[in-house]
């Protein structure tokens, strides 16, 4: 079972993530803010981060994870409505980006590829 840390403040997208990434294939942990996620003492197989978050934003969180030796090798997928997310996300160190509105199949595909990469 692959662990996903999903950081998104929009409740409907949290709900959708819960419906898409189900056991036994995935173990999803949903957080509403970067600060809440950073309190975790365990590491996931993949991070999915929304760019716009209350407090620390997704790009800053991505840079933090990529500069920490404990998390730098864990894939990060950045999600945003910003049309410049491709450029912004990769500059912050994200391994993949997904522009809203996206298809759940695209998200599923990216997460599956990312966890395979870690395995």
């Amino acid at each position: 079972m692959k662990t996903i840390f999903f950081v998104e403040d929009d409740e409907s997208l949290q709900d959708i993530a819960g419906l898409v990434f189900t056991k036994p294939q995935f173990d999803i942990h949903i957080f509403s803010s970067a600060e809440e996620m950073l309190t975790q003492r365990v590491y996931p197989h993949v991070y999915v981060l929304d760019k716009r978050l209350p407090g620390m934003d997704g790009l800053e969180l991505c840079r933090t994870l990529k500069s920490d030796p404990g998390t730098e090798d864990i894939p990060v997928i950045m999600v945003s409505a910003d049309p410049d997310i491709k450029l912004l996300g990769t500059s912050a160190g994200a391994d993949a980006v997904l522009e809203k509105p996206f298809s759940i199949y695209d998200m599923l595909d990216l997460v599956t590829k990312a966890v395979k990469q870690v395995s």
Binding site: S12, I16, A81, P83, I104
Partner: protein, 546 residues
């Protein structure tokens, strides 16, 4: 000149050391005679030249012979002094002009003189005229006439001229005195003229538009009250400035090229630009600029009508900002709707009632439309902000065209989309953005073509560029509407076209994307027969960089 008799020497005289034969001696004699003739001719030429020079130097007026220098398009760009008389320096203040051009001597010399001499050279007709020479600070009365062409084929012109600045001042004083006299003893005609001038002054000064006049070099020479109020200057302050002094730095270059085209070709223009008020604040104006001609048809000044559009620009900015924020905010809920719809579709099986399956399918179609609409709004907002960026890479257009045609065909079973054309060279382009343009043109063609109709997508190799066209057999677009269809939010009028959905952004976005690629997009259309939209993109050449 008469032929001199030279006595022949005898071949048998024995006096010459070499004892030359008679014929050779005769030849030598002829040669000496010819040399003598040439010497006489040169003497005569020098004498004539000295006489002419003496004559020119004795003139009270300035005199010079010039050759007119033209560019490749045969437009006069300069002239060189070949001969000048003694009075020349006194009349012009120019020292050692021979062999030098006027642009070397006075770089600011007005184009007026070049145009005038160019015209004389071209028509072969002499001209008499009076004109102020701003660069030399004099006023000349001139008689110029063509005298043929020099060794390099350049036209030469003789110019007889006189500085009449003092006479002009006298004339102006006399005119002023006459005017004063008229005022003191008003006549009917003077009253009518004064009334007409007063009407004109009131109309110009009460105009809601700023009105100004600038000379060929861009110096402000007249402003109305409104223009002064727009900028916070007095009229007396503005006429000491050049138009360049009041233009916002980033807009100067754009304005300069348009103004130069007006001065050179008499081409009126409209421009939106920023002016800087006396207190440093920038305002937006829409300017309509037209040339003013003198009696010879030469451009002497420009009339500028300026309308303050600062408020309109601010509203446009707010609208674009609102569209940007609103469409950005809509993306997250649309992601939710799309995801729920996909989850529903995935959960459906054969046991589901057909009605539910149909409703979910329709919902998916509507979500796709909403997504496209949001993308269009966001793109428009980004274009207005100058944020539409391209990821440029060498691109095989044919592959992209085939893919877009295939995708377009998947969206309709009621039309046939045909792709035909030449093999194209690569272009430097953003594949995603170009696909957006093609999708838009193809989906428009589908929308406007009656069921059963054909849409033709054609690729054409034009040598230095590729031309892509999309032809429909729809309602067509009238001539009057064609120039406006690429405008923001413009929708084609007409009953049948009015039934087609859309918000009028697609073609606007297409034009912006194509122009960002240094290409151009156009339309040819005949009402009730159909339209062909086509765009051209330059091939990758060594000097072809965006």
């Amino acid at each position: 000149m008469g032929k001199k008799s030279v006595p022949h020497q005898s071949a048998h005289s024995g006096e010459d050391a070499g004892e030359l034969p008679t014929t050779l001696g005769s030849c030598l004699s002829d040669l000496r005679h010819a040399e003598e003739t040439i010497r006489c001719l040169h003497q005569q030429e020098r004498w004539l030249e000295a006489r002419y020079n003496g004559l020119f130097d004795s003139l009270d007026d300035g005199f010079c012979i010039i050759e007119v220098l033209s560019d490749k398009r045969n437009r006069p760009v300069d002239y060189r002094f070949l001969k000048v008389n003694n009075t020349f320096k006194e009349q012009t203040g120019i020292e050692n002009p021979l062999g030098r051009t006027i642009r070397e001597i006075a770089p600011d010399h007005e184009q007026y003189w070049l145009d005038m001499y160019g015209r004389i050279a071209q028509t072969g007709e002499s001209q008499r005229f009076e004109h102020r020479d701003e660069a030399l600070g004099r006023f000349y009365e001139v008689h110029a006439f063509p005298i043929g062409r020099g060794e390099l084929g350049r036209p030469q012109i003789a110019v007889l001229f006189k500085d009449i600045a003092a006479r002009k001042r006298r004339e102006e004083s006399q005119a002023y005195l006459l005017q004063l006299n008229d005022r003191l003893r008003p006549s009917k005609a003077a009253d009518a003229l004064r009334e007409s001038e007063e009407n004109y002054r009131v109309i110009v000064n009460q105009s809601i538009a700023g009105i100004s006049k600038v000379d060929r070099r861009g110096n402000i020479i007249f402003t109305n009250n409104r223009f002064c109020r727009m900028l916070g200057y007095d009229s007396s302050e503005l006429i000491t400035l050049g138009i360049d002094d009041i233009i916002y730095p980033e807009d100067k270059e754009r304005n300069r090229s348009a103004f130069q085209a007006l001065v050179a070709e008499g081409k009126p223009y409209e421009i939106e630009k920023r002016l800087v008020q006396k207190n440093g604040t920038a305002i937006w104006v829409s300017n309509h600029v037209s040339p003013i001609f003198d009696q010879y048809g030469l451009i002497v000044a420009a009339a500028i009508v300026s309308i303050d559009i600062t408020r309109q620009k601010e509203l446009e900015r707010q609208k674009d900002e609102f569209i940007g924020v609103a469409s950005h905010e809509l993306k997250t809920p649309v992601t939710g709707i799309k995801a729920y719809s996909e989850i529903l579709t995935a959960m459906m099986d054969n046991s589901m009632p057909t009605t539910i399956v149909q409703l979910v399918t329709r919902m998916n179609v509507q979500v796709s439309k909403l997504t496209k609409l949001i993308d269009s709004l966001l793109n428009t907002s980004r274009i207005s902000d100058g944020q539409l960026t391209l990821q440029l890479d060498p691109l095989d257009l044919t592959g992209l065209l085939e893919e877009c045609v295939h995708q377009g065909q998947l969206t309709t079973s009621k039309h046939r989309i045909v792709f035909t054309g030449d093999k194209l060279l690569p272009v430097l382009a953003d594949a995603e953005r170009l696909a957006q343009v093609l999708d838009n043109l193809i989906s428009n063609a589908i929308k406007y073509t009656p069921k059963g109709g054909e849409i033709l997508v054609r690729a054409e190799d034009r040598g230095t560029c590729a031309r892509i066209s999309v032809r429909d057999s729809g309602v067509g677009i009238s001539k009057g509407e064609q120039p406006r269809i690429f405008n923001r939010f413009y929708r084609i009028k007409g009953t049948s076209a009015g039934t087609v959905s859309g918000i009028g952004l697609g073609l606007y976005i297409c034009r912006e994307i194509i122009e960002k690629h240094k290409g151009q997009i156009m339309v040819e259309s005949v009402p009730d027969e159909g339209s062909t939209f086509y765009f051209e993109l330059p091939y990758i050449l060594p000097d072809n960089r965006l």
